[in-house]
Symmetry: C2
Subunit: 413 residues, 2 copies
């Protein structure tokens, strides 16, 4: 009999308990032994819950109970989680978590403790909600050297961009609807500024490239500056604007990584991912591009990933798994000014012909785009691949003949 | 040190050896011990191969070598494979295979032997080539009750249909190009008649629903009757015709299952899967729809799945895994005449107005489609959901006022 404790009874926590008891019989078959949730930790009281007798307020009761072998941390944030998870692992208990902030900030340290203590630290639910991605990368694509990972990792921003693309709504209105539907928080910063997506691409990059990538070292832009004008130009280019987190293997043991709105051609599997859905593309040297698609958030999808990790932790209770990565310093991440990609650029020209001549001089051959209601003095075009620094410098050089009103990177997935 | 034997040195076999040695160091880290391929079984001679000293022609050398713990069977077919795999499992060796024919025909029996002998029988490469799908369903979605699985499971037919859709090419011409490019065999029957896709949906359904589904019990149609006329009508419906293998949980412990060309709306993640790519949609009760996309065939993608299974088999050499299903009889599969779906129907009317009146009487409300160059006496429409038997009967009833020239089922994924 394996006894489990769930830390936190919010959306994901209550979903975890619900999914666990709904599928208990099947899960026990998979785990090979009886399972039960012994404790639920929450500061609040739930006297009417069918699980009322399981609630505790003191984490030490769980920590000091030798019967508890697996702990599911679904509190979120770092404040309580970090201490709880660390002491649980140090006490020889396996931990599973949905907490992307924790894994992105402390993953290397916690994985090292888990390895030392011969217990598991799993976090499938931290990226992509209910989409299987951590385990497939680790346990199915291991015969590949992974060259790149790119994904639509945040459902809120993808919902907003979908509204802008499909309904010609502007950012502020789309955000308001997202908030009304409960997809965006009252303070939407973590979503719309790319912070949430950054944590997730850090976790994926750490796993794929074997060394911890810290969010502070990742160039991160949100979607607040994406305008309807830019969305409209995409139609003539056959592309969509998506908030992408991406990481690629470079030479010299470095990686490039970033989170930003990006132009994605319609042929890409990422371009057709709409509303609150997520998708993650993994480019392996043997298997080519593989894409994982599904609901990136939500109570039951996320809970199902947590419960799956619980079963894995029980099944492998006697052996530390090979899911791990080492720590790293900043030198692992190549400075973003060397990031290579194409650029979509929109500008307002003093004189359109003169500006076109400058564009030719500064950017070389470009592909001009058009849109309905395009002002006569507005130009929009896509450049060839260049470094971030070259792109910034080139935009600077355009200042004499035009005002650059938008630049969005173009990715090739 | 884990010693491995590879049975068969064809496309997948040579790819397996190549991927294994290319990533050996990394694979050993994942497996937790040194790995080597000790034998390669093939009837042919490869004197110039760097692995020349590993080749043997007698399977018994491998079977009787106690050092060999894991065998990768990549011969294909049943003739040799079945006997080799069965005796290997009975001798207490783990087996991994890319052989969908073997798993679809003998999966339940071989899994039972593996369980009895406490060894592994893995077959990730048998479905979806390099796309992780078997392990994710088994080890990531176990907190879900799976309601449906549907997929584009055969790259050859998807390539042909893509050519028809994009370039207005007819079936025969598109098949010829597929053959020239090496995507289709000289005898394309197994692909174009749906036999290959049928084996794969049988494996997925067995895994998802826990009981073996035999190909003989599955209604299987290929794409040879799909015409360019039908493809053209899809544009006005906003849909694509795809060869789909699908299985769904029904009441009374039954499943519905079939392989046939199906109309898929453009909004579906399956509609945008083009060329030789595959995609598999899994509908879970907690996680909703999850889609796995990638190259469904090819030397290196398939080999990378075989190698990943080898590592899993080594890692779990001391314990029989829970990946298993039980045997079943025909009663598990609901008769196809009760399969429920919408229908796209095209017909040539004696008199268009009279035929429309009959359509209304026989099918109720339908959605009429249009196409360029539509003959005046041709009608095309999509019906509501009905059973296969109702659809067949209704088409029969139309015979008086029209000739039904096409019927393609409409699926909602």
């Amino acid at each position: 009999m394996a006894k489990i404790a769930v830390l936190g009874y919010g959306v994901v926590g209550s979903g975890t308990v619900e999914v666990f008891y709904k599928n208990k019989e099947n899960l026990e078959k998979k785990a090979g032994e009886p399972l039960d949730i012994k404790y639920i930790l929450d500061v609040r009281d739930f006297p009417d819950s069918p699980y009322a007798d399981k609630f505790v307020k003191d984490f030490n009761i769980i920590l000091n109970d030798p019967e508890v072998g697996v702990i599911a941390e679904v509190i979120g944030g770092l404040k309580y989680s970090y201490g709880y998870v660390k002491s649980a692992l140090e006490a020889g208990k396996s931990v599973v978590t949905s907490n992307k902030e924790l894994v992105a900030a402390k993953g290397a340290e916690l994985l090292a403790i888990a390895k030392e203590k011969n217990v598991n630290f799993f976090f499938e639910a931290s990226v992509g909600g209910g989409i299987p991605i951590i385990k497939p990368i680790h346990a199915c694509l291991e015969a590949n050297e992974i060259d790149e990972i790119a994904g639509i990792l945040n459902g809120t921003t993808n919902f907003i961009l979908t509204k802008m693309i499909r309904e010609g709504m502007d950012f502020a209105d789309a955000l308001k609807i997202a908030q009304e539907l409960g997809y965006a928080e009252h303070d939407p910063t973590a979503d719309v500024e790319g912070i949430d997506a950054c944590r997730k691409i850090c976790i994926l990059a750490s796993l794929a490239f074997g060394r911890h990538v810290y969010p502070d070292n990742v160039h991160t832009e949100g979607i607040t500056k994406v305008t309807l004008r830019d969305v409209e130009y995409m139609e003539s280019f056959g592309a969509k604007i998506k908030l992408i987190g991406c990481a690629r293997r470079e030479d010299n043991d470095e990686i490039s990584i970033g989170v930003f709105p990006a132009v994605i051609k319609d042929e890409s599997q990422l371009a057709g991912v709409n509303d609150v859905f997520n998708a993650i593309l993994v480019r392996g040297d043997a298997t080519g591009d593989v894409v994982f698609y599904g609901k990136g958030a939500g109570k039951l999808p996320t809970a199902s990933a947590v419960v799956s990790d619980i079963v894995s932790a029980v099944k492998h209770s006697d052996t530390s798994r090979s899911l791990t990565w080492s720590d790293s310093d900043q030198s692992f991440v190549r400075p973003f000014e060397r990031f290579m990609c194409g650029n979509y650029i929109r500008l307002t020209a003093k004189n359109a012909d003169a500006a076109k001549a400058s564009v030719k001089e500064v950017f070389g051959n470009v592909e001009y785009l058009s849109s309905k209601n395009q002002p006569e003095n507005e130009l929009a075009f896509v450049t060839g691949v260049m470094s971030e620094k070259e792109a910034v410098d080139a935009c600077g050089k355009m200042a004499e003949s035009a005002e650059v009103t938008a630049r969005i990177r173009v990715l090739d997935y």
